[in-house]
Amino acid sequence: MSTETTLDELPMAKALNAGLRQALADDPKVLLMGEDIGPLGGVFRVTEGLQAEFGKERVVDTPLAESGIIGTAIGLALRGYRPVCEIQFDGFIYPGFDQITSQLAKLTNRGGGAFSMPVVIRVPYGGHIGAVEHHQESPEAYFAHTPGLRLVSPSTPNDAYWMIQEAIASNDPVMFFEPKSRYWPKGPVDFTASAAPLHASRIVRTGTDVTLVGHGAMVSVLLQAAEVAQGEGVSVEVVDLRSLSPVDYGPILESVTRTGRLVVAQEASGFVSVGSEIAATVAERAFYSLQAPVLRVSGFDTPFPPAKLETLFLPDADRVLEAVDRAMAY
């Protein structure tokens, strides 16, 4: 793939690959580390070809231990490196939880600002791929609750290409949630300019009756729901969150001020979730603009079910439209 091309149709996995390649080329301190990311290119092939290009010292196949991956990345960051860790699947991040929440997130504060922690943790997350247990989860809320971390999630190949580079350039720890069901659909990538800053949310479809907010793979579901609603005479606006921590409330509040209705959707279980936080904040800040209570559409508060039942667990366009109908009924 040539960076001469300014617009290309790429799947997100290849856009991420291009973004990582660019980051490795731009800064010799950038390192990739994770399980199977070398010759195999990662289980999703996101790092394909990068070890051959940049060597084993910069694209590191690590031992199989998530705490070890994050803990050694912290040491490398203390030494001035910018490690990008790949966690193989969402449900495998928990062995690294202590290093992420008690160490990575707090070390800059503990050290009085004497050093930064520019570590990126890439987490392929979410369902829709029919996989076995621990391979379809959405653990964002655990980390969004932790001060010191930043969380982002691209929904398009273009955002993936730019946001991974912006995350790597950040001097703070960034958890980068990659919607694995969106790895393969192609989309345009503009190699000349980023669509928005790393922590900006963005209105991706305009409408006048109800605002839908989501991130990652949910954005395409929301756009699909908006299309159906249009046919039914309901004008739907869609906001792509892009950043889960901090949340950029500007476009959300601006949108809700106009539409008066908000539905927040996510694959994660709803109890104490990012969606709950957004619902509470919008209720506080846009109370007099609201025509209806803020509604949430989430995965059920159960373990992610066996894959043959995942379509019932995961919010789809119909579940979103059901909430839209309820919001419109007020």
């Binding site: 912290i74 490690p83 202590d98 004497a114």
Partner: protein, 397 residues
């Protein structure tokens, strides 16, 4: 299972001819190297009587500092104190073995190592007093590359390993230039060996052949739980299954600690991969000021280890070399002065500024933290308790 004092780590209580334990000085201060000490003897050629006096001085000063820490805690100046009493030999010897360019990742009881590396140990008081979570800047060269204390047991063993991976990439290992080659010395205790992170540190360091020396102070207790609960095999053998060579030393012999750490730091700097040292020592005091060893510790075991005191041992050896009363009196005075200075500066400490809550949570501006910092300022201002405000109120009255 035996309940002998060093159960779980045999070899020190009755070092026979086949004992692998490295010791130069007996508990009575006689220079009688064990068989295991032979290969390390040449490393003692690097130090003379000046260094021995310095070892003694630092051990004595930290012993007195530690006592002052306990006193200050009992007087309400700190919520907690973490005593180092009894472990000065392991700490001072190993710390002096490190070269200036080496990096140190301590646990949270390494007051003597911090002193040797040059930090102002008042920072330890500030940390335990609740004035800070850190206290010294490990990026400031005057702090001797002594990284922050780490309270989650064993976590820092991985940071030390990652740091060493960085040194490898920076070309600072195995060049043959003693001014360039750099190692990372990480300290942890017997309890930490049960943590997964320590095993993962062995795995990662062996995998990458990093310049790490892992220095275990087996002080026989993880708070109230004896080392026999952590391990049924001597802990120095633990790392060998990971491919990390190891040695057990008498940690109350400062000479053994110095010589063995010097050799294994050399090995690490030369690019020969990670090394593991188990120093047998004993926590003479409590785990912390909140602990109560009378509930679990054995008096006979305690007394046995008091008789192996690292400071008295070196004093006896120095006296056998001809050192006189004047030197020991001078060190005692210096230790008193040191403790008095710590006391005075502790009593002069003020509460940290509230900005400490919000600053450096992130390295780059963050809207939530900024907003909450501003909110707290407005909230506090709303009470109008400042002298200026109350003066205005009185005038108006």
């Amino acid at each position: 299972m035996t309940d002998s004092p060093s159960a779980g780590s045999p070899g020190i209580d009755s070092p026979g001819a086949d004992s692998p334990t490295v010791r130069f000085l007996t508990a009575d201060g006689a220079f009688e190297p064990t068989p295991g000490a032979e290969e390390y003897a040449s490393y003692l050629e690097r130090i003379g009587e000046t260094e021995l006096r310095r070892f003694y001085r630092d051990m004595a000063v930290v012993r007195r500092f530690d006592q002052e820490g306990t006193n200050l805690q009992r007087q309400g100046q700190m919520a907690l104190w973490v005593p180092s009493h009894g472990q000065e030999g392991a700490q001072v010897g190993s710390a002096y073995a490190a070269r200036p360019q080496d990096h140190i990742f301590p646990s949270y009881r390494e007051h003597a190592v911090g002193l040797v590396r040059g930090i102002d140990v008042l920072a330890i008081v500030e940390l335990l007093r609740g004035n800070t979570h850190g206290g010294w800047d490990p990026t400031d060269p005057s702090n001797g590359n002594f990284h922050g204390y780490c309270l989650v047991i064993g976590s820092h063993s991985l940071h030390a390993t990652g740091y060493a991976m960085g040194l490898q990439r920076d070309g600072l290992v195995g060049t043959g230039d003693p001014e360039v080659d750099t190692a990372v010395l990480a300290y942890f205790g017997d309890g930490a060996t049960s943590q997964g992170d320590v095993s993962e540190a062995f795995v990662f360091s062996a995998s990458s052949q990093t310049p790490n020396v892992f220095f275990l102070q087996n002080n026989h207790w993880a708070i109230s739980v004896p080392v026999t609960v952590q391990s049924r095999t001597p802990l120095y053998l633990r790392s060998r299954g990971f491919g990390v060579p190891s040695v057990q030393i008498d940690g109350n012999d400062v000479l053994a600690s110095y010589a063995v750490t010097a050799k294994h730091l050399d090995e690490a700097r030369a690019g020969n991969g990670p090394q593991f040292i188990e120093a047998l020592t004993y926590r003479i005091g409590a785990h912390t000021s909140s602990d109560d060893p009378t509930k679990y510790a054995d008096q006979a075991q305690h007394d046995l280890w008091v008789s192996r005191d690292p400071i008295i041992r070196l004093e006896k050896y120095l006296r056998s070399l001809g050192e006189g009363d004047a030197f020991f009196a001078e060190v005692a005075t210096e230790a008193e002065d040191f403790a008095a200075d710590i006391r005075h500066r502790t009593l002069a400490l003020t509460a940290p500024d509230k900005s400490l809550i919000f600053d450096n949570v992130y390295s780059e501006p963050h809207p939530v933290v900024t907003e909450q910092k501003q909110w707290l300022e407005r909230y506090e201002a709303s009470f109008d308790t400042s002298p200026e405000a109350s003066a205005v109120t009185k005038e108006q009255a």
